[in-house]
C-alpha cells in the first residue's frame, strides 16, 4: 500500500511545490490539492497518510495570519483533524500552515501567533533544539536533537494564555530567539504527537546545497548539491510512521 501526502494550495499558500517535492523525496506519493478542488469534490481526509498545510500568505495574512484559512478548513472542508490523527493520520503545518493549525485550535485554546517582536519579517537560518520529550512523543521528531533551518516569517511570536502554558507541548526551540516567542518555542505538537507544526521551513533544507554554508566544501570533495538536506529528516520520519492510505483509487492530480 502506498503512503500518500496531500499538500494543500490556493488562497495565497505558496510553498506547495517544494513541500510536495520534499514529501516525494521522503517516499510519499504526494498530490497538490487546490482548496477549491477539495471543496467542489469533497474527499475523506482518511484517504491520505499525511496532510500538509504548507507555508505562504493565505488570504494575504489579513485578519491575522492563518485565521481565514482556518475558517475555510473548518467551515468549508469540515475536516476534523484530531479525529484524523486519532485514526493514525499525520498532520504537518509549516509556517503559515502552522499558523492555521494554531488558529484552528489544534494545540488547544489560548495559543496565538503574534507579529514578531520587532514588527519585521525575517528570513535567516537558525539553529533549533528539539525538545527531549517531544522527540519521544512525536513521530516527526524521532531521533532528532538539533537542526538548522531557515525561518521566513513576520508573525512567529508564540504566545500563550496562562491556562494554555501548562498544557501545550513545545516541540522545538530556537537557540537564539528571533521573534520574542515565549520560551523561544518554534513549533508545537499536539497530545498525540501526530499533529505537528513549526514556523521554520524544513522543506527549505531538503537539499544539502540549500544550507548557506554549503559552498565552503566546494570545489573540494563536498557532497553533491542535490543530496538530502537535514530538513528532509522530518519528512522521512513522517513517512516511516505514516499508515498507508486507505483509498488507493484516487485520481491523478497535477
Amino acid at each position: 500500500m502506498k503512503k500518500t501526502a496531500w499538500v494543500l494550495t490556493g488562497d495565497g499558500i505558496n510553498c506547495e511545490v517544494e513541500t510536495a517535492e520534499a514529501c516525494r523525496r521522503a517516499g510519499f506519493e504526494a498530490t497538490i490539492f487546490h482548496l477549491s478542488e477539495l471543496i467542489e469534490k469533497p474527499r475523506a481526509l482518511d484517504a491520505c497518510s499525511l496532510l500538509v498545510i504548507p507555508g505562504g500568505f493565505s488570504f494575504g495574512d489579513e485578519l491575522g495570519s492563518g485565521r481565514v484559512l482556518a475558517l475555510k478548513l473548518r467551515y468549508q472542508l469540515g475536516w476534523d483533524l484530531p479525529k484524523f490523527a486519532a485514526n493514525g493520520g499525520l498532520v504537518l503545518g509549516i509556517c503559515n500552515g502552522f499558523q492555521a493549525l494554531v488558529a484552528l485550535g489544534a494545540f488547544g485554546e489560548g495559543v496565538a501567533l503574534a507579529a514578531n517582536e520587532d514588527g519585521r519579517f525575517r528570513n535567516e537560518w537558525i539553529r533549533l533544539e528539539i525538545d527531549p520529550a517531544a522527540k519521544l512523543a512525536s513521530p516527526f521528531l524521532a531521533g532528532m536533537d538539533v537542526i538548522e533551518l531557515p525561518i521566513r516569517h513576520g508573525e512567529g511570536r508564540l504566545l500563550f494564555s496562562d491556562a494554555a502554558k501548562a498544557v501545550t507541548g513545545a516541540a522545538l526551540r530556537y537557540s537564539t530567539n528571533p521573534n520574542g516567542s515565549t520560551g523561544g518555542i518554534a513549533g508545537l505538537s499536539d497530545s498525540t504527537g501526530r499533529i505537528f507544526g513549526l514556523m521554520p521551513h524544513p522543506e527549505g533544507f531538503q537539499r544539502v546545497s540549500q544550507h548557506p554554508g554549503y559552498f565552503r566544501s566546494v570545489p573540494t570533495a563536498g557532497p553533491s548539491p542535490l543530496e538530502d538536506g537535514a530538513g528532509l529528516l522530518l519528512f522521512k520520519n513522517a513517512f516511516r510512521s505514516a499508515r498507508p492510505a486507505t483509498d488507493s483509487t484516487k485520481e491523478n492530480h497535477r
Binding site: G12, N14, E21, L71, A112, E124
Partner: protein, 1001 residues
C-alpha cells in the same frame, strides 16, 4: 441588521509590547527626527473594522468576534487611561482604494455563513487604523498626526478625548455605504465630445495639461489633424486612449527620436578609448540596443523587445523570461504604494508574457539620497530615510506574500536622488516551451483569432490607477496638482494577484485561452488596444466591467490600471469552462467583448460608442520627436587632491562603513529569498552570526533533479555619469556581466546563454541637450561593449523625466537624477556544481587579481566619501578584447578550479578581499612584493573587467601557466590565512574590527 446600519469592532493590543505598529512608527519617526527621544511622545495603535450590509437571523456580532478577535492578543475595549491632551486619529482608505483587510473580512464572513465568496458581496466592510498620540508639545503632536496620515491613500478624522465617545456615529453619507452599483453617469454624458478642431495651439497645450494627458503640442496637432480629416471631433475617451498609448511610458518616444549630436571641446575626463559618436542618430533604441541583438542571432532568443518581457530558451523544455521596470514617480509621492505597485506590476508583466509564465524571482534596485539629507531637503518631498523604508516595505509587501523570492538587487546612495528616488523592480518567470494541449504553439507566440473573446481576469476596476502612464511621463513639480492627485497612486493586492496567477497557470495548461497580457499602465485601453493588433481589431464593451467604485466614468474604467488584472483572449468554445474554473478558484473573470479584424479599436458602454479609433493611427500616428544633443567634457567639481593621505587602515575603515559599501543585512533579511525552494546562492552567506557581503549574483536551481541553474546579476554605477555617461553605461554593463561570471555563468561558446536587460533613468533630455547627449553616449557605450562581447539585449525600459522642481528656504531648486543605467544579466549555469560564491574558504589558498586591471580613483567610492588622494587620474579605461578573453576562460569549465571569485567593484581590490574574509573567519596576508609598491589606486581604485579569486595551492602552477597562455593578465596578491587578521605592509588589522565597521549600520 438592516441596510444602513453598521457594526463596528475595535481591536486593541492586550499589551504594549504587542503593539508593533506603534513600535515601528516610533522608530521611523525618530529616524527622521534625530535628537528626539522616545520619552517625548507616545503612540498607541489599534484597529477597527466596520461592517454594513444585509443579513437576517444571524448573530453577526458574535460571528464578527469569532473571526476578528484573538483573545490572547486583542481586547475590544480600550483600558488604558487617557491623557487629557492626547488626540485620536482614525484613518481609513479613500473610497475606491484597495482595502485588502476589508475584502478578507467580507470573504471570511461569506465562508463562515456558508455563501459563495466570489462576486457580489452581501456585506461591505472597511478597515480603520486608530492612533492615539501623546506628545510634549502641540507642535510635536501636530507633526506626529500628519506623520501617520497618507493623504493620497487615506482619509482621516481626528478626535479629542471628549469627541472620541461619538466616533462610531456616521460622519458622512458616503460612509454608510451602498452595496449595489448605482449609475451615477447620466446617459447623455456617456461619450462627451472634445471640440479639438476649433482649438488654438495654446488651448491644445492647456487642455493636455488640464486633463493630465501629457501630450505635447505636435502630438495634439497630429490628433487635431487626424480628426479634421475624419470631419468629426474626438470623444473624451478617444483622447484618453491616445494619451495612454502615446505616453512616453508606453511609447518610448525619446528612444525613437532623431537626435542630432555634437561635441564641444572642454577640459575634463573622457571615456578611454575615446568613443566615436555619430552626429545623427535615427532612433537610439534601434541604433544601439536593438542593433546589438540583431547582430547576435542566438538560437535561444525566443522573444525580444516585443512582449512584456524577453524570453530565452533555457532547457529543451523550459524558457525563462525576465523584465525590469521602474516606478519612480509613484514612489516619490507615496514610497510604499509606489513600490508595491512597482513589484506587483512587474509580476503581472511576467504572468502576461508569452502564453503565460510563473514568476520565479524578484530583484530590486533602489537609488536614494543619503540619510543626512533627512533634515536638509526641499519643501514638499519626503525625507530619504522614509522613502527608503517605504520602498523597501513596498517591495516586501508585494514580493513575500506573492511567494516569489527576492534574490538580487542593489542600493545606491547619491544626493541626486533627493528629489525623485529611482525604484527598479524586476522579475523573472518560467514557462514551458510547449504545452501538451497545443503542441504546435510556441510559448512565445502571441496569436489571437477573430471572434476570440476579451475576458478581464482578476481585481475589479477602481479609481486608483487612473493616469499612471501619463503621470509618470511628466517631471515632478511640488506645486503641481498632479502631486496631490489620488488617482495616480494605487495599492497593490498581491493576494488577488496570486489567486489570478494560480488560476491562469491551470487555464494555460488546459489550453483554455489563446493569449493574454496585463492591464498595466493605461489599463484596458492599453492591454486590449495592444492585443487588438494581433487580430487587427477589437470591440470592447465596458458595460459589465466589475468595479470597485460605482461612480466611475466610462473613460475612467477604460484607462484605470491595476496590478491584479489581466486581459485574456479566450476562444468562444472555451469560455464556459474558463469562467467556471475561474469561479471555482476564487477569481473574478468577465467577458467584455471580442477581437475583430476591422482595423478599429471600438469601445462601448451601455450601448453607446465611447471610442472608435483607427488602429493604425493609434499605434503609428504619433509624430516623431527630434532632439538636440550637445556634450562637453565636465571637469570634476571638487577634484580631491588634498595632501593629507591617511593610512590604508583608516581609509579602509571609512570605506567599509560608508553607506554604499556597508552591510545591507537589515534590509535584505526582510525579503524572503528562499521561497519556492530554488535558491542556491543567496543574497548573503550567513554562517552562525557571521555574514559575508552580498554575493555577486543570485543563483536559482530548477525543480527536482534538474541540474541547470539560472544566475542573475545587476550592474549600476551612476557615479561615472558625473564625467562621462559612456563610461557609466559600459561600467554598469561590465559589472552585471562580471557578477554572473563570478558566480559560474557559462560564456563564450555558440550556445551559451547570457542575456542583458537595460533600464535607463534619465533627467529630461528633451529640454536639456546635455542630458540628450548623455543619453546618446550611454546608448553607444552599451552598444560598443555588448557587440564586442556578443551579448544580446532582450528587454529594456526607460524613464525619462526624473527631475524635481520645488523650493527650499524660499528659493527655487531643481534636482535631476544622475543619468543612470541599470544593466541586468541573466545567465545560465549548465551544471549547478559549477556555481561558485565570492568568499574565501580555506586558509592557505592563494589569492590572485585577474583581468586587465587599470583602476582609477575617479568616480570611485573612495572619492565619493571625500577621502583625499594625490594620485593621477582619468576614467578607468575599457579593454573589451582583453575582457572577452578573460570572460571566455571564466565562462568555461576551466575556471572550475577557482575556490572563490568576486568582481572588483565598489571600494576596489582591498574591499573585495576584506569582504571575502567575514563568512569563515579567515585572514589575509599580502605578498610583500606587491604591497611594497602598492598605492591608494591599487588598494581602492575601481574599474572594469577584474576579479579577486582564490585557488587551492595545488592548482596554482597550472592556472598561472594557463592564464599566461590565454593572454589573461594576473597578479598574485597574497594568501588566505587562519589568523583573522589583515596583514598590510606596516600594519596588521584585526578582521573583527573591519567587520564591525562594515556591519555597524
Amino acid at each position: 441588521m438592516s441596510q444602513g446600519h453598521k457594526l463596528r469592532i475595535e481591536l486593541y493590543p492586550c499589551a504594549r509590547d504587542l503593539d508593533v505598529s506603534a513600535k515601528r512608527i516610533t522608530e521611523d519617526f525618530i529616524r527622521e527626527n534625530p535628537g528626539l527621544s522616545e520619552s517625548s511622545f507616545r503612540i498607541d495603535t489599534a484597529k477597527a473594522y466596520s461592517l454594513a450590509g444585509q443579513a437576517s437571523g444571524e448573530n453577526l456580532e458574535s460571528i464578527l468576534t469569532e473571526i476578528l478577535v484573538n483573545p490572547v492578543l486583542d481586547q475590544t475595549t480600550e483600558t488604558r487611561g487617557w491623557k487629557i491632551d492626547a488626540v485620536f486619529i482614525e484613518r481609513g482608505f479613500r473610497p475606491g482604494m484597495t482595502d485588502n483587510a476589508a475584502r478578507a473580512l467580507e470573504e471570511a464572513l461569506a465562508i463562515r455563513l456558508g455563501k459563495n465568496p466570489v462576486g457580489q458581496a452581501d456585506f461591505h466592510a472597511s478597515r480603520l487604523d486608530l492612533y492615539r498620540i501623546e506628545a510634549e508639545t502641540p507642535e510635536l503632536l501636530a507633526k506626529l498626526s500628519s506623520f501617520v496620515a497618507h493623504p493620497l491613500l487615506h482619509t482621516t478624522r481626528a478626535f479629542t478625548r471628549d469627541t472620541w465617545i461619538d466616533r462610531s456615529a456616521p460622519i458622512a453619507s458616503s460612509d454608510t455605504v451602498s452595496i449595489l452599483p448605482a449609475s451615477q453617469a447620466s446617459a447623455s454624458s456617456l461619450a462627451p465630445i472634445f471640440p479639438i478642431r476649433e482649438l488654438s495651439a495654446r488651448a491644445l497645450e492647456l487642455a493636455s495639461k488640464e486633463h493630465l494627458w501629457a501630450l505635447s503640442l505636435p502630438e495634439m496637432l497630429a490628433i487635431q489633424s487626424h480628426f479634421s480629416t475624419l470631419v468629426r471631433d474626438p470623444r473624451i475617451a478617444e483622447l484618453e486612449v491616445l494619451a495612454q498609448t502615446w505616453s512616453e511610458h508606453c511609447k518610448h518616444k525619446i528612444f525613437r527620436a532623431t537626435i542630432r549630436y555634437r561635441e564641444i571641446e572642454g577640459e575634463g575626463p573622457i571615456a578611454s578609448p575615446r568613443p566615436e559618436i555619430p552626429t545623427e542618430t535615427k532612433g537610439l533604441f534601434k541604433t544601439t540596443i536593438k542593433a546589438v541583438t540583431d547582430a547576435c542571432p542566438k538560437p535561444w532568443l525566443l522573444s525580444v523587445f516585443s512582449d512584456n518581457a524577453g524570453i530565452v530558451a533555457f532547457t529543451a523544455d523550459d524558457a525563462v523570461c525576465i523584465k525590469v521596470e521602474t516606478h519612480n514617480s509613484p514612489s516619490a509621492i507615496d514610497p510604499f504604494a509606489g513600490a508595491i505597485t512597482g513589484i506587483g506590476g512587474v509580476h503581472r508583466d511576467i504572468i502576461g508574457t508569452g502564453f503565460g509564465a510563473k514568476p520565479i524571482f524578484n530583484l530590486d534596485v533602489f537609488c536614494v539620497a543619503p540619510a543626512k539629507y533627512d533634515t536638509d531637503r526641499p519643501d514638499g518631498i519626503f525625507p530619504p530615510s522614509r522613502i527608503l523604508e517605504g520602498v523597501r516595505a513596498g517591495v516586501e509587501a508585494g514580493g513575500n506574500p506573492a511567494g516569489i523570492p527576492t534574490i538580487a538587487g542593489a542600493l545606491v546612495y547619491d544626493v541626486s536622488y533627493l528629489g525623485k528616488p529611482l525604484v527598479f523592480c524586476g522579475s523573472g518567470g518560467i514557462l514551458p516551451r510547449k504545452i501538451l494541449k497545443h503542441p504546435l504553439v510556441d510559448c512565445a507566440a502571441k496569436v489571437i483569432e477573430t471572434g476570440d473573446l476579451i475576458v478581464m481576469v482578476g481585481g475589479r476596476i477602481g479609481r486608483d490607477g487612473i493616469h499612471g502612464a501619463t503621470f509618470s511621463s511628466l517631471a515632478m513639480d511640488a506645486s503641481d496638482k498632479s502631486m496631490s492627485n489620488a488617482t495616480v497612486v494605487q495599492l497593490g493586492d498581491p493576494f488577488t494577484q496570486k489567486r489570478a496567477l494560480d488560476f491562469l497557470m491551470v487555464a494555460r495548461d488546459r489550453g483554455l485561452y489563446r493569449t493574454l497580457t496585463d492591464n498595466g499602465a493605461g489599463g484596458l485601453s492599453s492591454s486590449v488596444g495592444e492585443l487588438a493588433t494581433l487580430s487587427n481589431g477589437a470591440r470592447l464593451d465596458l458595460t459589465n466591467a466589475p468595479l470597485k467604485a460605482t461612480d466611475l466614468r466610462p473613460e475612467e474604467i477604460l484607462v484605470s490600471e491595476s496590478q491584479e488584472r489581466m486581459s485574456v483572449a479566450v476562444p468562444p468554445a472555451s469560455l464556459t469552462e474558463f469562467l467556471a474554473l475561474s469561479k471555482a478558484m476564487g477569481v473574478e473573470s468577465t467577458a467584455l467583448g471580442e477581437f475583430t479584424a476591422h482595423g478599429r479599436f471600438e469601445v462601448l458602454y451601455r450601448n453607446e460608442t465611447i471610442a472608435d479609433l483607427d488602429l493604425q493611427f493609434l499605434h503609428e500616428g504619433c509624430p516623431e520627436l527630434k532632439l538636440e544633443a550637445e556634450w562637453t567634457p565636465t571637469k570634476p567639481a571638487a577634484f580631491p587632491t588634498g595632501a593629507t593621505v591617511k593610512g590604508v587602515r583608516e581609509n579602509l575603515l571609512a570605506l567599509l562603513g560608508s553607506e554604499n559599501i556597508a552591510s545591507k543585512e537589515n534590509l535584505l533579511r526582510q525579503y524572503d529569498h528562499e521561497v519556492q525552494g530554488t535558491s542556491l546562492i543567496k543574497p548573503q552567506t550567513q554562517i552562525g552570526d557571521h555574514r559575508s557581503p552580498n554575493q555577486s549574483a543570485a543563483v536559482l536551481v530548477g525543480e527536482g533533479a534538474n541540474r541547470v541553474a539560472a544566475v542573475i546579476g545587476v550592474g549600476i554605477l551612476p557615479e561615472y555619469s558625473r564625467y562621462d555617461a559612456y563610461t557609466m553605461a559600459q561600467a554598469s554593463l561590465d559589472e552585471a556581466v562580471r557578477n554572473v561570471l563570478a558566480s559560474g555563468a557559462e560564456y563564450g561558446t555558440e550556445d551559451s546563454v547570457l542575456a542583458l536587460l537595460d533600464n535607463f533613468c534619465w533627467p529630461d533630455p528633451v529640454s536639456n541637450p546635455k542630458y540628450a547627449a548623455d543619453l546618446v553616449r550611454a546608448g553607444y557605450g552599451l552598444r560598443d561593449a555588448a557587440l564586442t562581447l556578443g551579448l544580446p539585449f532582450v528587454s529594456g525600459k526607460d524613464s525619462m523625466k526624473n527631475d524635481f522642481r520645488g523650493t527650499k528656504n524660499g528659493e527655487a531648486v531643481k534636482i535631476s537624477v544622475l543619468p543612470t543605467v541599470l544593466v541586468t544579466a541573466l545567465g545560465r549555469i549548465v551544471d549547478l556544481e559549477r556555481a561558485r560564491t565570492s568568499e574565501f574558504k580555506q586558509a592557505g589558498d592563494t589569492v590572485f587579481l585577474i583581468g586587465p586591471h587599470r583602476f582609477s580613483l575617479l568616480g570611485s567610492q573612495f572619492e565619493r566619501i571625500g577621502l583625499t588622494h594625490p594620485e593621477a587620474r582619468g576614467l578607468p579605461p575599457s579593454d573589451w578584447a582583453a575582457a572577452k578573453r578573460l570572460y571566455t576562460w571564466l565562462g568555461s569549465e576551466r575556471s572550475d578550479r577557482l575556490r572563490s571569485c568576486a568582481d572588483v567593484s565598489e571600494g576596489g581590490t582591498l574591499t573585495a578581499i576584506v569582504e571575502s574574509l567575514f563568512a569563515y573567519r579567515l585572514g589575509f596576508e599580502f605578498e610583500p612584493a606587491w604591497s611594497a609598491e602598492a598605492n591608494l589606486t591599487d588598494y581602492f581604485g575601481e574599474g572594469l573587467h577584474s576579479f579577486v579569486v582564490s585557488i587551492g595551492q595545488e592548482h596554482e602552477v597550472d592556472l598561472v601557466r594557463e592564464w599566461f597562455a590565454s593572454g589573461i593578465a594576473f597578479t598574485r596578491l597574497g594568501k588566505v590565512t587562519a589568523s583573522r587578521t589583515l596583514v598590510l605592509p606596516k600594519d596588521t588589522v584585526p578582521v573583527e574590527l573591519l567587520e564591525a565597521a562594515w556591519r555597524k549600520r
